[in-house]
Symmetry: C2
Subunit: 242 residues, 2 copies
DNA sequence: TAGTGGTCTAGACCACGGT
DNA sequence: CCGTGGTCTAGACCACTAA
């Protein structure tokens, strides 16, 4: 473990256990550099992590301060932001399984070509899965992935987690994602698989997901019944002057 | 403008105009330091911005590379992530106005106390607004704000933007937000104000918003008809090893 | 082994806030 | 004015990748 991360963790611990109180003064960078027997640049790198994670903020000429919601964020931080999933009540309460409804290979349409940044001649998987939480139908998934980016998908892979396959078997890193969230009326598939009544709203997430080298690998739509969980997220505000 | 931001902008421009091609090699840090007549630390600070914004990635021992989706991100980047709002088609196509449905002061309930981190004795505004895009009802908003955090709210302020008031009049900075998104069946208010039919789903966003010093100032619920826009967001993946 | 990025140092000067 | 954080330097050593 490198020095600046160790220092960041130490300071984070002090914030959580109350050594550094919210709204209160904070040892200045020179003092911290002395205490940790390091240079000020290294202290700044440590503080930058905490600043990015929303624990502290600094005011030039004045000092560095613990945010009042530091402890709230510390709980949510690990779960949300990069994770889109079930509400906490549902996550951890059971196991997720998948039933493959259809699995074919075809050429992409125009929208898929644009979203995935591929040519019409580059074939894609077309996958429909119904995902269960403890035998309870939860999500209806329609996924399109370019074969040349994610090779070797089989029924066996689809029975588990595609993401696990990508990360552990293909050794590729998952990167950014663009998502669009909306509500919709149920269609026939929703009624059949998600057991929607005619007036049960559906929460839909459309997303394009990228590998960490910027190659798009998934264009998907997932639908869930309105009473089967929400989407939770944390937004850490970004500065605009960059 | 400081040096490392200028360098970051210059390099970003080169990525956008194609001087540095996606997937291709990239001048190394020593070379860039020479070109920009600066130290390597400064170059690294510039590259860190671009890395954070999703334009590039670096591999130790190998080099720095432009991500394949760099240009896609450059378009979305400014809009999304910190901004939750209408889809682009709807934003920019008109002016947003507000009608105040109710505006009272009361004591907070238990949930509000916890969410806003305040005491039951600290009064809050209770505001209901209907927001229009060009005379078209768009959002039904229910906002609860502690008076001692955001003083001086009047009907006049509510006719415009509360956020503008907070930033320009109170000179406070908006910070992080926790959001929960779900779909729901329409209630009577939705039918009356959003003109929902009985089977029109509603998209609901519940959020707690913080100032940049970590003080919670808003606990709100907004509802919109399913056909009146989506929520768009960009997730830049976070590293886990911190 | 050579070249890359990641970390770290021990200073320096500047911008800004509060006195 | 002093003390704070923000930026910057000119090196150094290390970890890793690829030839």
């Amino acid at each position: 473990m490198v020095k600046y991360k160790e220092i960041a963790n130490t300071i984070k611990q002090r914030i959580i256990d109350g050594t550094y109180e919210a709204g209160k003064p904070f040892p200045d960078q020179h003092g911290l550099a002395e205490e940790f027997e390091t240079s000020r640049m290294t202290i700044q790198k440590a503080l930058e992590i905490l600043r990015y994670e929303g624990f502290i903020y600094s005011v030039r000429g004045s000092g560095t301060f613990v945010k009042k919601n530091a402890d709230t964020l510390s709980k949510l931080d690990s779960k949300a932001d990069e994770y889109i999933g079930l509400t906490k009540q549902m996550a951890g309460t059971g196991t997720v399984t998948s039933k493959v409804l259809s699995f074919t290979i075809r050429f992409p349409n125009e929208i898929e070509c644009e979203s995935l940044q591929i040519l019409p001649s580059q074939p894609v998987y077309d996958i429909r899965r119904l995902r269960f939480l403890n035998a309870d139908p939860l999500l209806l998934e329609h996924t399109v992935m370019p074969i040349h980016v994610i090779p070797g998908i089989t029924e066996e892979v689809l029975a588990g987690s595609i993401y696990d396959y990508i990360e552990t078997r293909l050794k590729l890193g998952i990167g950014a994602a663009n998502r669009m969230i909306g509500a919709d009326k149920p269609n026939k598939d929703d009624e059949e698989y998600l057991r929607c009544q005619i007036d049960d709203p559906v929460l839909e997430v459309d997303q394009v997901v990228f590998l960490d080298n910027g190659v798009a690998f998934e264009y998907s739509q997932t639908r869930r019944r309105y009473d089967k969980g929400h989407i939770v997220m944390v937004n850490l505000n970004k500065k605009k002057d960059r």
